[in-house]
């Protein structure tokens, strides 16, 4: 492997020049000419209500209005894993801001003016905003028809309740595990909702042309999945997959928010209603907050048992998720956590209950970390606390229980090769673990916090990747794939993988942005799986191409293909040192024989990758028997945090994070993920503080009141560390390492706060305000006022975790 020429190097991003010059085109930058129509959405002001009537007549009379669309026109349900979401609801609204109608007009101002004239009569219902109430026997139901919804086979909704899914994992004997423990620690942790805040809002342009083809230009992480979900939803209108085309130019940030289908259904619906004319739906920043996906809120109870020597004997982890009005994607977040909430530790006795609860808050879904960021806050806080209770060093306690290759996972499969121990050691060294630091300012104290992390991609067992590869006349080549460049550097990495096999430098490789008419299939760009999955497909396509090159040379020139190899864009021969044939001489036009004829022709290749060893089939009561996850990526992180005792203001003096990338195809891009991920994670714990009114309206749907970090808020120093324990089935040993870098941030800060000031914060976020109150002995719960960030009214410590489902209605 030491002879790698392109893999493991850090060339400039191949999309860098386009982005630095403004040449990079995003959906909203595409011109559609004077025909382009604009849409304005009519939204419900209620969190939960019945729609009694919708009167569109006044809006329709406004000059310039082309069409007003409601659920009567377009009553279809859709969803990725469970079809519980509506293009336009016909009878009931389930969160404040949900679309009930759309006005399509010649220009945006007219659409906006006319939308105000749509009269909707509602019958207000009691909103389900409190998990305690949502799970009561007499709960108001958010989805009375839950039992009738089409869903994937590994979801277990409980009709007649608000439980959309309940993932149970059982391993070993939990009671025996706690009996063996010398110390048991039990506590509750809460994490509110968060918003992705990609700087580019969602936008879609749809054109249902006069021949009956639907083309969608979409800011999406999931072009093929969008086509599939929309094809399912539009099937009643006679459209099939071949009639739908999804084109995705550059995407201005995703973080999971642009995965699956959320507002895009509206773009498709409106296009179908104004045949022959393109129509644009562009979300405002506020809509971006409440009508795409949010990260779910969760309250988690952890009971952990350990022996005096530090061996963990048992974990019981119950998580209740505030999943919002629609969970077609979000229930899979709950599922993923239900399989993995042990964290990266070898624990013989496990009981996990991860419960997805419908509420009348915005729909939930994937956000960088896919549930792992959420549960690691509690778990990694708890691990440090348990170490203290045992009188052990928190890093030593983690070393003692760190998961290793071959260990049995909670659902029975075996752990993949992993460098967790190396990650722990290198992070501990880098942060100077054990060395107390003192601030020169007497008002300030310094603490250190440590956290480990792990995460697997959450995918259906048949989430495939594919790649097309074609040469151009000059020996340059195009790769036609449908993974999405959302900033992570995917295109550059795919080019490096192809370059390594074909010896073509990456300057001569164009990786095409997705178009479902043209590029090969990719399930979605989520779960940090495309370097691994699509990387394998590109590698396979490059090997396919290489085999075809050798075959042509053998046929045309009579040199045995087994003796051929590629070097510096030339075919060379092990047995004939004088032989070399530049690729550009024949990859389009073929090789001329002595008779003057040409052998070969354009060299094209394809490659496919399917994780054939995975399966989602398992016992619903225990999760034993399947192999739902392809592999885990592990790592560790630590922080040095300075706290002003008077103001509570915190400054990150140093953060470091090690992630086991298997093999960093491009180390600089991996480091970019580490730095960006740490800052995004720190934002969730230090700054971002979502608030709802007690009627379920989002109060801070803008960047003035929902504060994401600016350049002034970044740590003084961030040290990224790459660990490389090869993933045997990864391209050149690579596995994903992008989402993971956000996961440990919140817990490491909570641990550092305790180290600095001796107070344990168990509810996110941990803002300066909360720390200052805590240091003055004031409970935040007493002064937080009448807005809500968490989805229950009472104090977290008093929250009752049901062990049984509520009675069905």
């Amino acid at each position: 492997m030491s002879s790698l020429k392109f893999v493991g190097k850090s060339p400039e991003r191949i999309d860098g020049l386009e982005k630095i010059t403004g040449a990079a085109t995003y959906v909203d930058d595409i011109d559609f000419g004077a025909r382009l129509l604009h849409a304005e959405i009519v939204e419900t002001p209620y969190a939960h209500a019945l729609i009694k009537s919708i009167d569109t007549s006044a809006a329709e009379k406004v000059p310039g209005v082309v069409r007003v669309v409601t659920g009567k026109d377009f009553p279809y349900r859709f969803g990725l894993y469970m079809q519980d979401r509506f293009s336009f609801p016909t009878d009931r609204v389930r969160f404040v801001g949900e679309q009930v109608a759309a006005v399509v007009a010649r220009d945006a101002k007219t659409a906006k003016r006319a939308a105000k004239l749509v009269k909707v009569v509602y019958q207000e219902l009691e909103p389900v905003l409190d998990l305690t109430k949502a799970l009561r026997d007499d709960a108001v139901l958010v989805h009375p028809d839950l039992g009738n919804y089409t869903r994937c086979p590994w979801f277990f909704p409980q009709a007649g309740t608000n439980i959309a899914h309940w993932r149970k994992t059982r391993k070993g004997d939990i009671e025996k595990g706690f009996k063996e423990a010398d110390v048991i620690l039990e506590d509750t942790y809460t994490v509110p909702r968060y918003s992705h805040c990609a700087i580019e809002p969602h936008v879609i342009v749809g054109l249902y042309d006069l021949s009956g083809r639907l083309t969608l230009w979409s800011a999406s992480q999931s072009p093929y999945t969008q086509r599939h979900v929309l094809a399912q939803a539009l099937a009643p209108l006679g459209l099939s997959h071949k009639d739908i085309r999804v084109v995705t130019p550059y995407v201005g940030g995703g973080f999971g928010g642009k995965a699956g289908v959320s507002m895009e259904i509206i773009g498709a619906a409106l296009a179908m209603m104004v045949k022959g004319q393109p129509v644009k739906v562009r979300w405002s920043r506020a809509q971006e907050f409440y009508n795409t996906y949010q990260r779910q809120g969760v309250i988690a109870r952890i009971k952990l048992g350990a022996k005096k020597d530090g061996t963990i004997t048992a974990i019981e982890h119950s998580l209740h998720w505030d999943a919002g009005g629609y969970v077609e994607y979000g229930a899979n977040v709950v599922n993923a956590v239900g399989l993995s909430a042990t964290g990266p530790y070898r624990i013989p006795n496990v009981k996990i209950d991860s419960v997805c609860v419908y509420t009348n808050l915005p729909p939930s879904g994937p956000y960088r970390g896919f549930g792992y960021s959420e549960f690691h806050f509690g778990l990694e806080s708890h691990i440090t606390r348990m170490a203290h209770k045992l009188g052990m060093d928190p890093v030593d306690f983690r070393r003692k229980n760190a998961i290793r290759e071959g260990d049995t996972l909670a659902y029975g499969a075996k752990m993949n090769p992993c460098g967790l121990m190396e990650s722990i050691d290198r992070v501990a060294t880098e942060i100077g673990w054990g060395k107390k630091e003192v601030s020169k300012d007497p008002n300030k104290v310094i603490g250190k916090g440590f956290a480990c992390f792990w995460k697997a991609p959450a995918m259906p067992p048949n989430a495939a990747s594919a790649a097309f590869l074609k040469f151009n006349e000059d020996g340059s080549l195009n790769i036609g794939v449908s993974g999405m460049e959302i900033g992570q550097g995917y295109m550059t990495v795919m080019a490096q993988i192809a370059a390594e096999i074909l010896t073509v430098p990456i300057e001569k490789i164009r990786v095409e942005l997705p178009d479902t008419d043209r590029n090969a299939y990719e399930w979605q760009t989520v779960g940090s799986h495309v370097t691994w999955g699509c990387g394998n497909a590109v590698k396979a396509a490059a090997l396919d191409v290489r085999a075809k090159i050798f075959e042509v040379v053998e046929r045309a020139l009579g040199i045995a293909r087994d003796a051929l190899y590629l070097e510096d864009e030339k075919v060379k021969c092990r047995t004939r040192v004088d032989f070399e044939l530049p690729l550009r001489n024949f990859v389009i036009n073929g090789i001329q024989t002595s008779q003057g004829s040409f052998i070969g022709g354009p060299i094209l290749g394809s490659g496919v990758f399917m994780p054939e060893f995975t399966s989602a089939l398992s016992d619903p009561e225990t999760s034993q028997g399947g192999h739902p996850n392809v592999h885990y990526t592990v790592g560790a992180a630590a922080v040095t945090l300075e706290i002003d005792k008077k103001t509570g203001k915190m400054r990150v003096l140093k953060a470091t994070l090690a992630v086991d990338a298997g093999k960093a195809i491009n180390p600089r891009l991996v480091k970019g993920q580490i730095v960006g991920g740490i800052v995004q994670g720190l934002a969730t714990v230090l700054y971002e503080d979502i608030r709802y009114s007690l009627k379920g309206k989002l109060m801070n749907a803008n960047f003035t009141d929902y504060k994401i970090p600016t350049s002034m808020d970044v740590p003084e120093e961030i040290v990224p560390i790459i660990v490389e324990v090869a993933q045997p089935d990864g391209p050149f040993g690579a596995r994903g390492a992008a989402e993971h870098t956000m996961i440990p941030a919140a817990a490491m800060v909570a641990n550092a706060v305790e180290d600095a000031v001796g107070r344990r914060m168990k509810t996110m976020p941990i803002t300066a305000e909360k720390v200052a109150l805590e240091l003055q002995g004031v409970s935040y719960e007493d002064v937080k006022g009448s807005s809500m960030g968490l989805c229950f009214a009472g104090r977290p410590d008093a929250y009752k975790f049901h062990t049984k489902a509520p009675a069905k209605k």
């Binding site: 400039e12 386009e18 010059t21 803008n702 350049s711 961030i718």
Partner: protein
């Protein structure tokens, strides 16, 4: 009721009719066809629509098109008409951007800073770009790239 305005956009005089309520950002993108200023928040929070108005950075989402009458506007398209500027070259070399959506505004904020202060300190760079939100990078490679331009300039001086 439309009003005729004349602006110098990227060194070219452009004359056009606008409504008094038209936002400059929308006019730049939809009427003048300049797409590098992006729509991110429409309330001056994110900085994605940053342009140079008479050499100073402004949020084009907070300005009416009529207010630009008689003024000089520079967008990213106008900046690299004769090749990449030193700050663009440095940002490219440092792989400073991921999704790239904040890049046009960020480049203009950096350009304004370096015009006033050719060798800024790290803190001065942080302050200068603090109105341009980036959700991908954690800002570090952007800050480093801008500081590096200043260091290079300092050496030359």
């Amino acid at each position: 009721m439309t009003k005729r305005i004349t602006v110098t956009l990227n060194n070219e005089i452009r004359s056009l009719a606008v409504e008094p309520s038209d936002i400059l950002l929308d006019v730049l993108r939809e009427v003048l066809g300049v797409k590098s200023p992006k729509i991110g928040c429409e309330r001056g929070d994110c900085g994605a629509c940053t342009i140079l108005l008479d050499g100073k950075t402004v949020r084009s989402c907070l300005i009416l098109a009529v207010e630009a009458d008689g003024h000089e506007i520079t967008t990213l398209e106008g900046l690299s008409q004769s090749g990449l500027t030193p700050v663009q070259q440095s940002l490219l070399k440092y792989n400073s951007f991921q999704c790239g959506f904040c890049a046009p505004g960020m480049v203009l904020s950096a350009t304004e800073l370096l015009g006033k202060n050719p060798s800024p300190s790290k803190d001065e760079v942080k302050e200068a770009i603090s109105g341009n939100l980036c959700r991908c990078t954690g800002y570090e490679p952007i800050i480093d790239a801008i500081v590096a331009v200043g260091k290079k300039a300092g050496k030359r001086a």
